[in-house]
């Protein structure tokens, strides 16, 4: 169970120390990570949820790792996306650039990219597996530092500023979270989530703790109105970094928030708090989509679309009241998985277009279809998933959202969801139609041909997001198995 954390960590160290064959090491780590996660899934389906006491120390003394349905699905999402990102990043950095200065710059960036990316992967896996509220803080911090450094890699002044702001926001979020943990420890004296679950009593200390932790995590998840840092950061980073930030990193903090609200502090959550989150989510969906429609640059548009799509995750909050936890988890998981795959594909396409044309101004994207057929195809499919059209994973998520909102007679959420998908249609196809224009004087530009490593990962991620809906019974099965109360304990060694 520990291998998804250890493997990337070792790979990161090796990448940094050896500084040679970095791609081979990272690729090996990503593949090994995927295999480890698959094995974990297999174990979960066989034995149900599992727990591992690190070093053999029992909680409350020791730190525990836990794998259950949602955690394993998030790990799978990270592992698959991570593998695609690794391959894509290789293509990105080895893309031949005529300008010599830029080429050396790429070499330099690559040197720092691989160790940081591996560190980030370890942090994310740790976040999904940890069952200890302080250990979770540590993983959050690892993610924050690695992500902010990655965002700064591009070296442009705009990205420097954006990533610095990102670093401050992330640290602020982590510190707020840490303050919450301190409050919690003061009132309960427990850090293990499973034990905490049974000892949560309503009191001012705990409520303050929950509020602080939530605000910290919301800041990291970029829920409107705390989203201000996201678009510039995601849009100005290097293409593989944008994919990491938008596809994976925001999901990490959201996952933690959701777990705190729906598994640990369930008794403290009031309907008005849930409605508040839902309202913010609704505002995020509409505001993000409208902003995405108004952007002039492809990467900014995709970034604002992230703001919008994150809103769907929060609309699930008020709809969860009437349902059992598996229902809630399934909504969130499908939206998150679908978004992770589709958004990675979109940022990969945006990066490929940028390398090909040297810019990503939407009005000058004419005729890209002719020169980049595969990325354009991937863009279309990923767009379909963002719009929530069947049979994509986004459709399953939206279907569940709509069903819950109508069965609980909260039809206004349904209206927001539907309007959101129509707005998504407008921003997706605004770009799509540009790709299809064939200007009279069009000739293929003389930039170097794109490596297949830049094109195929995007298409594969897009196809996964599309067909995940058809295979929806598998994630459902994992969720259902992971939801049983019986927990198998695996020894993590001797004390």
């Amino acid at each position: 169970m520990i291998s998804p954390i250890i493997l990337p960590l070792i790979a990161g160290l090796l990448c940094f120390l050896l500084n040679r064959r970095t791609f081979a090491i990272a690729l090996a780590a990503a593949v090994a990570n995927l295999l480890a996660v698959c094995f974990l899934t297999y174990q979960l389906l066989l034995f149900g949820p599992m727990r591992c006491h690190m070093g053999g120390w029992q909680p409350p003394l020791g730190i525990t790792l836990r794998s259950d349905g949602p955690a394993v699905l998030m790990l799978l999402m990270t592992a698959v996306t991570g593998l695609a990102i690794t391959v894509y990043a290789r293509g990105y950095f080895s893309h031949r650039i005529l300008n010599l200065r830029q080429a050396t710059q790429h070499q330099e960036q690559q040197r720092y990219f691989w160790p940081l990316w591996m560190l980030l992967l370890a942090g994310l896996n740790g976040l999904f597996l940890s069952n200890d509220i302080f250990n979770l803080y540590v993983t959050l911090e690892i993610i924050a530092i690695a992500a902010a450094s990655l965002a700064a890699l591009s070296g442009k002044p705009a990205s420097q500023l954006a990533s610095f702001r990102y670093l401050l926001v992330s640290l602020l979020g982590s510190l707020t979270y840490l303050l919450g943990v301190v409050f919690l420890y003061r009132s309960c004296g427990i850090l293990d989530l499973d034990i905490l679950q049974h000892h949560v009593a309503n009191g001012p200390g705990i409520r303050a703790a929950l509020a602080l932790m939530s605000i910290g995590l919301l800041l990291k998840t970029a829920l409107v109105p705390l989203h201000f840092w996201l678009p510039p950061t995601h849009a100005n980073a290097l293409a593989p970094v944008s994919v990491i930030l938008s596809g994976l990193v925001v999901k990490g903090s959201f996952y933690l928030l959701f777990r705190l609200w729906f598994e640990i502090f369930t008794q403290l959550i009031t309907p008005s708090a849930l409605n508040f989150m839902g309202t913010l989510g609704a505002v995020a969906i509409l505001w993000g989509a409208v902003q995405a429609m108004r952007q002039h640059r492809l990467k900014l548009m995709v970034a604002y679309s992230t703001v919008s799509q994150l809103g769907y995750l929060f609309i699930a909050f008020p709809l969860s009241r009437i349902d059992e936890s598996i229902q809630v988890w399934s909504i969130v998981i499908f939206m998150a998985l679908g978004h992770a795959c589709a958004k990675s594909a979109l940022f990969m396409v945006a990066g490929a277009v940028f390398l090909h044309l040297g810019h990503d101004r939407i009005k000058d994207l004419n005729g890209v279809r002719a020169s980049l057929p595969i990325p354009v195809f991937a863009y279309g499919i990923a767009g379909v998933s963002l719009m929530g059209l069947p049979p994509s994973a986004g459709f399953i998520g939206k279907w569940l959202l709509l069903t819950s909102s109508l069965t609980s007679s909260q039809w206004w959420w349904a209206l927001v969801i539907i309007t959101g998908s129509l707005l998504a249609m407008i921003y997706v196809f605004r770009v799509m139609s540009r790709f299809f224009v064939i200007p009279e004087d069009y000739s293929v530009t003389t930039s170097a041909p794109l490596s297949p490593l830049l094109e195929w990962p995007a298409l594969i991620m897009a196809l996964i997001s599309l067909f995940l809906g058809l295979a929806a019974s598998w994630p459902m099965k994992i969720l259902a198995t992971g939801n049983t109360a019986l927990t198998q304990v695996f020894p993590g060694g001797l004390p």
């Binding site: 719009m387 709509l402 069903t403 539907i418 249609m425 224009v437 064939i438 929806a472 019974s473």
Partner: protein, 498 residues
């Protein structure tokens, strides 16, 4: 698993796989592409005929895939799906032949034929859908696969048309999705059983069910071009002629009309709708659309635009017939018009495309004396136009006859009135074209003569309209025979127990 279950996926794959291969083919492999296209189309027709025969002898074709609890994909072959699937696949083959001739030498053909094949896959998917969710799936996919075809020329004008099409179609799709979810929360699974839901729901949820019916009709009405949701159709005329044929006769508009039939006959069921009392609304919208479309068609000089408004008008015959659901004769008229309108309209669009491709004629005012230059094309056009007016022995007469009989049987004299006025308007906008073409005198040279050869135009452009024109007359003349669209529709109506 046995062959009955695998037949339906095989029908879908018979055009899906060629489509995917065509995407991957390099542009210049046009011979291989043509072979793939034609083999796929012919294989599809054969498979669908096997299905038709099976359905006639009472086989049950069904395959299910459960996604999550409450969301299930279901393909199901029943007589009604057989009607639509057979129509689409036969017209598909002809349109493919026509498109191969039409696009000879133009750029981006692998792209075009790839989407073309996906589009027919999706249309057949609509025909075979066995519940509302599957219908919704293919309905949305149809929008996606037709969009690249509409903007195929890549001009600003076609992009504008494409954008409008998307906005109309996806808004309709969104309304439809909302209605489907709402309906499922009330009545549970929405399989097309042929009987509708249990009447006990009406006691508890009458208003909600009536509202949902209206929303569902709005959802499919966008594609069926019911007024006031028709705005995208005339604009989509900028697309190449085979695509227009596809929009008007094979796939898109038909999918909308087919959706109306499914909702009325299968999802709600005639009895429930009579209880809810929402059908007069549908009848009124259909009647307004019939008259409005015809009147607007009168004002157009652009030939394709005139045909587009004529489609808006004619497709609503289907909705009108279905809205008189307690009259079996009217239902027969509506259902059979699904086939008949397709045959006639595709003939007209093929001919309009021939005029544009051969002589550069786009406007009716340029058509003087064109029949002397292109007698076969104009003969086919005349058959289609006379069919639209409803002159025996064409198929158009058969549809109108049954619709009128159905209206009279219920004492709905207004149906006959609408049919009469509409036929008069049809005559007003089609006869002048025929008179100009056959008896007019050529005014100067043709606008842009592109072809001069042994035949009046390219061989592959000439064959499809002649075949469809022949069917228009033949199917009308032998409408009472054992094998005709009308006989099959009677079989359907018996199945539904009307």
């Amino acid at each position: 698993m046995n062959w009955e279950q695998w037949l339906l996926p095989a029908i879908l794959l018979s055009s899906f796989i060629p489509g995917i291969i065509i995407f991957a083919l390099p542009e210049e492999r046009h011979r291989l592409r043509t072979v793939l296209n034609l083999c796929g189309s012919i294989l599809k027709i054969v498979l669908i005929l096997v299905m038709d025969t099976g359905i006639y002898f009472g086989y049950n074709f069904e395959i299910r895939l459960s996604l999550i609890p409450g969301v299930e994909l279901l393909l199901n072959g029943d007589p009604l799906s057989a009607l639509f699937a057979t129509l689409s696949s036969v017209l598909w083959l002809l349109t493919t032949v026509y498109a191969i001739g039409y696009l000879e030498g133009s750029p981006n053909r692998s792209h075009f034929f790839g989407y073309f094949s996906l589009c027919v896959t999706v249309t057949i998917g609509i025909a075979l859908a066995g519940n509302l969710i599957t219908f919704l799936l293919f309905y949305e996919l149809l929008t996606l696969t037709t969009y690249p075809l509409i903007i195929h020329r890549g001009t600003e004008k076609s992009l504008r048309a494409g954008r409008n099409y998307l906005i109309y179609a996806f808004s309709g799709g969104a309304v439809f999705l909302f209605a489907v979810v709402a309906l499922q929360t009330i009545i549970g699974p929405t399989d097309f059983t042929g009987a509708g839901f249990s009447p006990s729901f009406i006691d508890t949820h009458a208003t909600a069910l009536a509202l949902i019916f209206i929303l569902l009709i709005i959802g499919v009405g966008v594609k069926a071009a019911l007024v006031p949701l028709h705005g995208w159709l005339p604009q989509a005329m900028v697309a190449p002629a085979p695509v227009s044929a596809l929009l008007h006769a094979v796939a898109v508009v038909k999918a909308g009309a087919f959706g109306i039939i499914r909702i009325v006959l299968d999802v709600y069921g005639p009895q429930n709708l009579l209880l809810l009392g929402v059908l007069p609304l549908l009848a009124a919208v259909a009647s307004i659309t019939i008259l409005y479309g015809s009147i607007r068609a009168l004002q157009q000089d652009d030939l394709k635009r005139r045909l587009a408004f004529s489609t808006i008008s004619q497709v609503s015959y289907i909705a009108l017939g279905i809205s008189l659901v307690d009259q079996p004769l009217a239902v027969i008229g509506g259902l059979v018009h699904l086939v008949h309108q397709g045959l006639m309209k595709i003939t007209l669009f093929f001919c309009a495309g021939n005029l544009a491709e051969t002589l550069g004629i786009h406007r009716i005012s340029e058509m003087d004396g064109v029949a002397r230059r292109m007698p076969f094309t104009m003969a086919a056009f005349s058959v289609g136009a006379l069919g639209m007016i409803g002159i025996p022995p064409t198929v158009g007469f058969v549809s109108k006859w049954y619709l009128g009989l159905g209206g009279l049987a219920a004492g709905n004299w207004w149906v006959v009135l609408i049919l009469a006025v509409s036929s008069l308007l049809n005559a007003c906008y089609f006869l002048p074209i025929l008179i100009r073409a056959w008896f007019g005198k050529q005014q100067g040279p043709w606008p842009d003569e592109l072809y001069s050869g042994r035949f009046e135009t390219r061989f592959m452009l000439l064959i499809p309209p002649l075949v469809t024109a022949f069917i228009v007359i033949a199917a009308g003349a032998v409408a009472n025979a054992q094998i005709s669209p009308l006989a099959w529709v009677r079989f359907i109506v018996r199945k539904y127990g009307l």
